[in-house]
Point group: C2
Amino acid sequence: MPNVSLRGDMMPSSPIRKLVPYAEQAKKRGVKVYHLNIGQPDIVTPKLIMDAVRNCNITILEYSHSAGFESYREKLTAYYKHLSIDVTKNQIIVTTGGSEAIQFAMMSCLDPHDEIIIPEPFYANYNGFAVAAQIKIVPITSSIEDGFKLPPIEDFERNITPRTKAIMICNPNNPTGYLYSAQEMEVLRDICLKHNLFLFSDEAYKEFCYDNQQHISAMHLKGLENHVILMDTISKRYSACGGRIGAFITKNAEVYDTAMKFAQARLSPPTFAQIAGEAAIDLPADYFEEVKVEYVKRRDLLVKRLNQIPGVFCPNPGGAFYAMAKLPVESAEDFCQWL
Amino acid sequence: MPNVSLRGDMMPSSPIRKLVPYAEQAKKRGVKVYHLNIGQPDIVTPKLIMDAVRNCNITILEYSHSAGFESYREKLTAYYKHLSIDVTKNQIIVTTGGSEAIQFAMMSCLDPHDEIIIPEPFYANYNGFAVAAQIKIVPITSSIEDGFKLPPIEDFERNITPRTKAIMICNPNNPTGYLYSAQEMEVLRDICLKHNLFLFSDEAYKEFCYDNQQHISAMHLKGLENHVILMDTISKRYSACGGRIGAFITKNAEVYDTAMKFAQARLSPPTFAQIAGEAAIDLPADYFEEVKVEYVKRRDLLVKRLNQIPGVFCPNPGGAFYAMAKLPVESAEDFCQWL
């Protein structure tokens, strides 16, 4: 019997999946389980989006353009313009979820054994994509004590090697909820320019910034245009995770053309969810305001009550819909199992 | 400005895309262009499928299971049973198109620099997936003179090295239309057993076999159960290319668990097209008969008329909806441009 690959062996299991058997056992005992481990919003998907799919008028369910429907990319430029991000439809590749945008970025910009610096804690699946692409993630630890702000510039400098090709951030951050400030984004710009690095910016949660804070996109950074890849998704924005539609965006023409070759190999992103994504751009301007009111209400309750527990510390997340707490436990995994 | 990766540089462009500017110029001159270069069926997508999506009753468009809906996998087992393929729902991973199934197979079974033997001509995008996975395709040439039958066993033996991990076939073949016989499949089984190789079997066109020939699936081969990965898709089967739903199927539990880790990293396959795929299994038994009548009619006309042209030879494809012809031209690419 032939063996699986070493890469397959090294591929990490989902840290969430490990907990599923415990949750299932508890449910069998009649325990009500609140799943705190997965970024699946319970906000209703806007009816406008679902209706666009329900009313679709398709005779032959054809491949779309490998970069996604031209009409969708055209409308996306207006959506981004509203966020002060100036891109053309030929700088956008519609992807199969944000996941595929991350894979295109890693494959297009890094070779096996190349390194990418990522502040940790970071989204667990970056590890999987890195193993698939055979690249090395160099983590730089951020600290719960200061709410997971950007680690000091020296920590980046110390970890840059001739193989370092990129810095990657998630802003607002999954899983810390930290929102990078304009000043921190400028630090990232300067270091990317100084060391000629790409900046991969996962902005899946950019609509969800609280307390009147402004989201600073990597695309806003002057002088860094040829270094930035914006990785986006409709999953969290419109509570449409199952659609599997995201976007890979860059002003670097060489990177764009390279990513397009990966996009062409897999033919096209899913058609139905492109229809959903295109319709979503017509949502009323106050749509996100309503959702944010709900998320802020939950955050405020959660953070307040967590911090009332002796020995617990939970910084106030500035964005996204995650919170990380320091708990008086020996092992987070044991604690999750006990929960 | 940072550079793209070597891998990105090596990534092949779509051979089809190169021709697009010529087609567009011709169209501008008022020429009617028949696109002979792309596997996009013009058969209408069954209304049953489209209606299933149109009538979907979804409030929150959630992630599905990383292996795909349990209900869909359950129904797929009945679909495969009908084709004398015995698999359980836990041997199926629903993928984002057949493309993703190919990538999961390559990543799960081969490490960078490992080799995979593929009879050529083969589906052009295998090259792209191989570059992405950093593996090496070792082509073995089949010949138009004998209709692209399986190359002799000696050609395989000669090309097997310590790095050879798999043989890959597409059956019926894209782009030759060749349908492998039971005897040829047994040759492949024997060589895979002898050299402990995986057999990757792309069976995207398995419903389209003509002249009362039987499709022999790699899954039918006795004793090869732990070596076979079946890569499937609804794209051609139901004229549903835009859905982006395929399947990765194996009885090898270790390979399955490994591929599941790649599947978990990308979260889930697209929900809407899973609904379409699930509905498709309820199509009446004569659905494929009707489509085959149409494809055979076209094949017969095309092959007959091509062979009537002096200097042209076109073998009769036994399956799929492609035909390859030997033409009295110096360069196929020049000829395509002239067309």
